[in-house]
């Protein structure tokens, strides 16, 4: 039975129209919204006008002159790119049952915004303007250095040249930029983020879905940071092949706990971070030697296996054969008798995700199922796949959220541990040889999250 975390009456379709100068974190916010809504099973897609310019309109790696509003030739190309992006967006709404589209572009003039507004309304789509406004120079410079290293526009270009060119590009936009006007635009639905949520202005939010997006965006920041994820060290139940429980660590698990500070230090350097654990003994024991502030979260507790808590997969298959099969058939929705499903975990993780977005450097020590859900959120892993991801014990995962994706590094502790991975259709744990070499499913070292395919 499907359960919805966010409701959507069929007739609501929203186009989030980004507004703001370059290097204000617009793409980052757009990507985040798409990821969040997809995680909640809402059809969402981002239409990045820059991509259309590069791929279809013949504007690859242009220099700042290209963005001069007096440059008629270039302006035509840019105009063409917007038109294509918007046409694609409309097609997506109508043919693919889209619910929330993000139009990621500067949309810097009021004329352009009126044009989009009219187009949306004519197609029964409600536009919501989302402006990122920033005059904090530090923040802008940090963003620029991020963009020049990750934007396709500056691939292979000397960083210094790129920075100079990018600053020039921004100044071209500044000459025509008209920020949203709280008086003049008071009848529109809009949100202004001023210096990244230092101040937030929220105007005329009229549907629940819109309020949900605003709520999420309010929790975002664009300061660079990293998130480290780790399962607890090998537990006694892991060794005994039992699921759930509240057992202590095995000797090897304790060794991992002793080694963890060094692993973290190697990856994080001197930055300060906060450790979050669940309330179960094994995560606390894993965190015991870490020299950082620690917080316990009930919401990080492992998926509750209900009556199967403390059983091995073999026992479950024997005692509850139907359940065992039902779970393999739809692992995301399957709810253990008296326990939880993956979807239940996603719902209760909401405060964690929101708080995680607000914080800076965090190390989370939690459990397999919970970690899969959190990982799926950051890496845009589709629902059908996420419960089957392999997240081995004694491995520290580092996530670095970036404007165009999330970087992942996996650091192995080289302390042996049992495998708790169970493939579909078997009650045996352990990864087959095939699985170990197939990095496609585990998205190992330094991959970037792909765009979510249309579903």
């Amino acid at each position: 039975m499907p359960v919805y975390t966010v409701s959507n009456v069929q007739n609501i379709r929203v186009c989030v129209v980004m507004v703001g100068l370059p290097a204000r974190g617009k793409s980052f916010i757009s990507q985040k919204i798409v990821r969040y809504l997809s995680w909640l099973s809402i059809q969402a897609k981002c239409f990045n006008v820059g991509n259309y310019r590069r791929q279809h309109a013949g504007g690859e790696q242009p220099n700042a002159d290209f963005f001069d509003f007096e440059n008629k030739e270039a302006y035509k190309i840019r105009q063409h790119a917007v038109t294509m992006a918007v046409a694609d967006m409309m097609r997506w709404f109508n043919d693919k049952g889209g619910v929330v589209a993000i139009l990621d572009a500067t949309n810097s003039t009021s004329e352009r915004r009126e044009w989009i507004l009219k187009l949306c309304r004519e197609n029964a789509i409600e536009p919501m303007f989302l402006e990122s406004w920033c005059d904090d120079q530090d923040l802008i410079l940090r963003n620029i250095s991020e963009v020049k290293t990750t934007s396709p526009d500056y691939q292979g270009i000397d960083p210094e040249v790129a920075t100079k060119d990018f600053l020039e590009r921004i100044s071209k936009y500044e000459s025509v930029y008209e920020p949203l006007n709280e008086e003049g635009d008071k009848d529109k639905t809009f949100v202004r983020l001023i210096n990244v949520a230092q101040q937030v202005v929220i105007n005329k939010i009229e549907t629940y879905l819109e309020s949900r997006i605003v709520f999420y965006v309010m929790n975002l920041h664009i300061r660079p940071r990293s998130i480290w994820l780790s399962r607890h060290g090998e537990s006694i139940y892991n060794v005994e092949k039992k699921i759930g429980g509240d057992s202590h660590l095995s000797v090897r698990g304790l060794e991992y706990a002793r080694k963890l500070p060094e692993l973290v230090k190697r990856s994080a350097g001197d930055v300060d971070l906060t450790v979050w654990t669940s309330t179960l003994v094994r995560t606390g024991e894993t965190a015991q030697h870490l020299p950082y502030k620690q917080l316990q979260w009930k919401a990080l507790d492992e998926l509750d296996a209900g009556v199967c808590d403390g059983m091995t997969y073999e026992e479950i298959e024997e005692v509850y054969p139907e359940d065992f099969k039902a779970r393999d058939d739809n692992k995301y929705e399957y709810r253990y008798r008296g326990g939880e499903s993956y979807r239940d975990v996603v719902i209760r993780l909401e405060p964690i995700i929101m708080e995680l977005e607000r914080q800076e450097n965090i190390l989370i020590i939690t459990h397999q199922a919970v970690l899969r859900c959190i990982y799926a959120y950051f890496m845009n892993v589709p629902q059908e796949e996420s419960p089957w991801m392999s997240i081995p014990l004694h491995t520290l995962i580092k996530l670095e959220p970036r404007a165009y994706g999330t970087n992942v590094t996996r650091i192995k502790a080289n302390i042996p541990a049992v495998s708790t991975y169970k493939e579909k259709g078997t009650s045996q744990v352990g990864e087959s040889d095939l699985k170990l070499t197939d990095s496609g499913n585990s998205r190992s070292v330094l991959t970037t999250a792909p765009e979510l395919p249309d579903r």
Partner: protein, 547 residues
Amino acid sequence: MSAILSDDDELFNGLGSEEVITKPVPGNHMARTRKRWSSGSADKRPKIVNKLIDGVHTDVATDYISPGQLYSTESGRLFHAGKILIVLVGLPATSKTLLSVAITRYTRWLGVRTRSFHVSEYRREKARTEKGGVPNDYYSAKPGSQEGGNYRREILRKMTKDMTEFFDEKRGQLAVYDALNILKEDRSSIEKVFGKMNIKVLFIESVVTDPLLQKRNVDLALKSADYKGWALQDAEQDYMSRLKANKHLYEEMSPEENLSYVKYINFGEKLTVNNNNYGYLINKIVFFLMNLRDKRGRVYFARCGTSVKDKYIDDEELNEEGLNYSKVLTDLVLDLVNKRRLDANDGTSAVPRTPSAASLKERSKSPLIATSASLKRTESTGNALYRQPASGDGVDDDSFVVWTAPRKRTYDTAKYFAELGISVRQRNQLQQLHPGVVADMSDHEVKEKFTSEYQEYLRDPYHFRFSRAESYHDLAVRMEPLLLEMERMCGDILIIGHESTLRVLYGYLMAFSCSEIPRLTFTRDELIEISFGPFENKVNRIPIVMD
């Protein structure tokens, strides 16, 4: 503990290594004992469930578990949010009391121990128990006389004491302080006093610039406890003098004050959030404020009609009796809605009593009497200048929407509404509590077949789940979006649902505890009408009389 290893084992694991567990210990010897709940819902039997009283003002017990709570903690505080004091700021007639009550209701539902402290209650209590009455200039934020000043200070002292006690001794997490606080000095002293106690202070300033809204707020204030038994004119005069005494003193909040605050303009039309670094809980409250509306309509609850077998698994259509019930229900609800519209038109409403040609046309299409809002809606349809009506149910004061579950019986019960052109929405969240293995069993059968589970269920009917089933708590969590949408709806909503879903919705609107919710009853011979007041919600039970 350690075992002698074979040579091969020792070589493989390292010389001198020990194996921790020689033999796996059978059974669940290290079971997970801490559940997501630290206490159940049934350890305390509710006293008498008086279904007509809004529970939002009753104190929460120290071991309180709320209906919508996702987990519980030892400290009783959630989200690592610490202790927070919300201070309302604004002139009289800016919905401060409504806001504080609404925030209390919602955060309590989330599991936060919240209490609102209303200055008006303290003043009334003081006036009731002390001789001398309230000094004339008490109602000014800056009374001219010493007497008036003292009176204010005494009340403030008592309230500060109570709020401190709430945080320190009653495990309180969120206090809402409902008073004028329109002076900078008042605000900065509150910030200092509570800041010292390590309590975060967030100001919510309500500003009303819309004259219609202002008038409505004054009208509501005149119905408050302060003016019980007053002649309308006298009450109005008195209230206006309170307003006047403060208007020129009012110092609107600005970033220069260096406080964390939310400016809430014209009841949520616009919100600005400043220096909010308080975390999830406060953002969640802002989220709630985005959805809160000045609700002029009512929420109606009705059961669905009957079917032949009345079984969960069948998803049957209505039988004759059920269809008949649907007709009677349709007429009854439409009559109630129309009657209120007529009454409103009698009063000072902007709608002329003699309908214009356009409204007559509107009327011929719809079984509902047209209002100014419905006329405006007709105007905006197809006009790119306005948001389109379809873009949000319940945006207008006079909207009327029927929500049903996605099951045949429930949406068939709404079919006569649909035939009349009224919006009927199937809401997935209204899917009834999934009964799991005990579907369609009588209590007796359940007791026979699932003896031990049944005992557990009786101990905690709110949180207990039968195999495959949902608990009331599961239901409450999955229905949360619907609660906020319900808060959003300005107009009327009729919710036709299964008893289990009605219990949860009703439990939220009337602030019931989780021990009470599973015991609420809704029958087919009563329509429940809930109306919204700034201080509390009211219930009216209207008989459904079958021919």
